[in-house]
Symmetry: C2
Subunit: 335 residues, 2 copies
């Protein structure tokens, strides 16, 4: 453990001015080879590290991006962070992270902290994009890109998945296979992503002239257990259904287990599909069908968009909706 040394001391030891040392460190300006060597020797010897804080203050650039997420738990967000990280790494930015548990005050607080830390841009993921968020972002003089959520065209950029469309398309795919009697297991009513998927599901049915008993469209809490329980209740109401769609893999797996525990065959009697594609889909013996989309790409693109905004002078506004793939596997059958 040795104390940090500063540019002044290096300059003194090398018998030059601090300006010259700075030039050597940044390869800027011109320095005679012999003095460069001398200075480099001193740097080596002292283990000198420039104080980036001071540099950033002088340059008014921090090379810092702030990421605010509502949760770290689950497969998606960590992958998204990974994508963000990759993009930032390639562009020599560093990543400041805050996790808010979806609490509005905490979100606001971190916007302010990040702003005062002079981050050059903010990536923001929340469970539900509210008016308060819009106001906040529009007041802040630094670029913001919203992840995993639409911002309703208020001039705030976002990158997200098209929940509505893939849910609808997946539903129609099952209809195409001959299914007519559906049940749906959604997430909590507060989840925008879940609501969008549910809407896609309903419109998919409606446009194909299929009616849905609203009792068969239910809300769980994303866990395996709640999928099991909701399925239990669905079976109590109506045994004639031939397809169950769950908003995520966990609940789909729960439903699958429940169905099998009732000695009902999957997929012969009931097909199961999750609007998701996590490691869980691969865990069950009977491979679960689902919709695949890349969180890592989302993170990467979101970060890319943000960097573009930082570099550009005018405020640009872009909305990106990422593609998906529907994978029908063993858990789904033709009727």
């Amino acid at each position: 453990m040795k104390k940090d040394i500063n540019i002044k001391e290096v300059a003194k030891k090398a018998g030059v001015s601090i300006a010259t040392v700075s030039r050597v460190f940044n390869n800027s300006g011109t320095v005679k080879e012999s003095t460069r060597k001398k200075i480099e020797a001193v740097i080596e010897e002292t283990g000198y590290y420039p104080n980036v804080l001071a540099r950033e203050l002088a340059e008014k650039k921090t090379h810092l991006i702030g990421l605010i997420v509502h949760s770290m738990i689950g497969e998606g967000i960590p992958r998204m962070i990974n994508g963000v990280n990759e993009m930032l790494e390639d562009n020599d930015y560093n990543l400041l992270i805050a996790c808010t548990n979806g609490i509005l005050e905490s979100e606001i607080k971190h916007f302010e902290i990040f702003r005062s830390k002079r981050v050059e841009g903010i990536l923001f993921a929340t469970r539900e994009f509210k008016e308060e968020h819009r106001d906040l972002i529009q007041k802040i003089p630094i670029p913001v890109v919203v992840l995993l959520q639409r911002t309703d065209k208020e001039g705030i950029s976002f990158v997200t998945f098209d929940n509505y469309t893939f849910a609808k398309e997946a539903t129609e795919k099952l209809i195409g296979l001959g299914h007519r009697n559906f049940a749906f297991i959604g997430g909590p009513a507060t989840s925008v992503n879940s609501r969008e998927r549910q809407l896609g599901f309903r419109d998919g049915l409606k446009e194909n002239g299929i009616e849905l008993d609203t009792n068969l469209s239910r809300n769980g809490d994303f866990t395996i257990e709640s999928g099991y329980q909701q399925m239990e209740e669905i079976l109590a109401i109506e045994k004639e259904i031939t397809a169950v769609i769950a908003v995520n893999d966990g609940m789909a797996i729960g439903a699958l287990n429940c169905i099998q525990d009732h000695d009902i065959a999957v997929p012969n009697d009931i097909s199961v599909l999750g609007l998701d594609d996590t490691v869980l889909a691969k865990a069950s013996r009977l491979k679960l069908s689902g919709v695949h989309y890349s969180y890592s790409k989302l993170g990467k693109q979101g970060a890319g968009l943000l960097l573009k905004q930082i570099e550009s002078d005018e405020a640009l506004f872009e909305e990106v909706v990422l593609p998906y793939e529907i994978h029908l596997r063993e858990s789904v059958n033709k009727r």
Copy 2:
């Protein structure tokens, strides 16, 4: 979007000196109520935010912690980050994150970046703690705490799980249930955590006078598929085994599926246990047995330890090994 304003302009607008503005913002020194009000009004009106960079430069404190991890993927590390985050949040520190994919050069690079960014401490998680890491950490004049790995008592603090002991104890638990014929599915040879667990397993057998065909102790790559494949090979070698232990849940699930696909009964013919306890353990219809330990607590304690080191003047050295619980569920049976 409005431009950032600085303390000087606020002072001018309020007709006071910058020192007074600074006092108001930091509640330091004494300010007359009337001038405080006046200044607060100007702050409100201008939306002034202090430039934390400048403050940090003056104070020589950044309130920044760096976290270097080898990966974001999987259930453990995100939970650990969550724990770190909680502790830092409570103490008004911010979190800078870097993900290295376990590449040594990247690890070194981020130690340097973090150091030049003047983080006050570093949390470090890597797949294998090497001599290079030790050298690096001992040269750096800021506190470091290693996570998820021992540092071999070199005066470098760490907090980790006791892989060896829980693997051994889990093995002995199965022996206590009457099992004598074991197979083991480990991770890649490069994973220290996997090696430690494997050692615990072997010693558990050895101390109980049970011999192990080394062909039955295998290496996968942590995925469900590789668990399946290794189990396939185990069954080809020896059908008489009564218990399989896998180093993680994923491979345990793979093994479980493989066994069932061979129409061998779990747990009646073969018991299965994973040295892990992720969401996967709850996904299979037949609840998987495993060892539970809290990544979130590990993160929290690691961060706590680091903060303690930052506050203390002398370099303290502490090693923390966290507790675990062995959960025997449906996948394990008495012989």
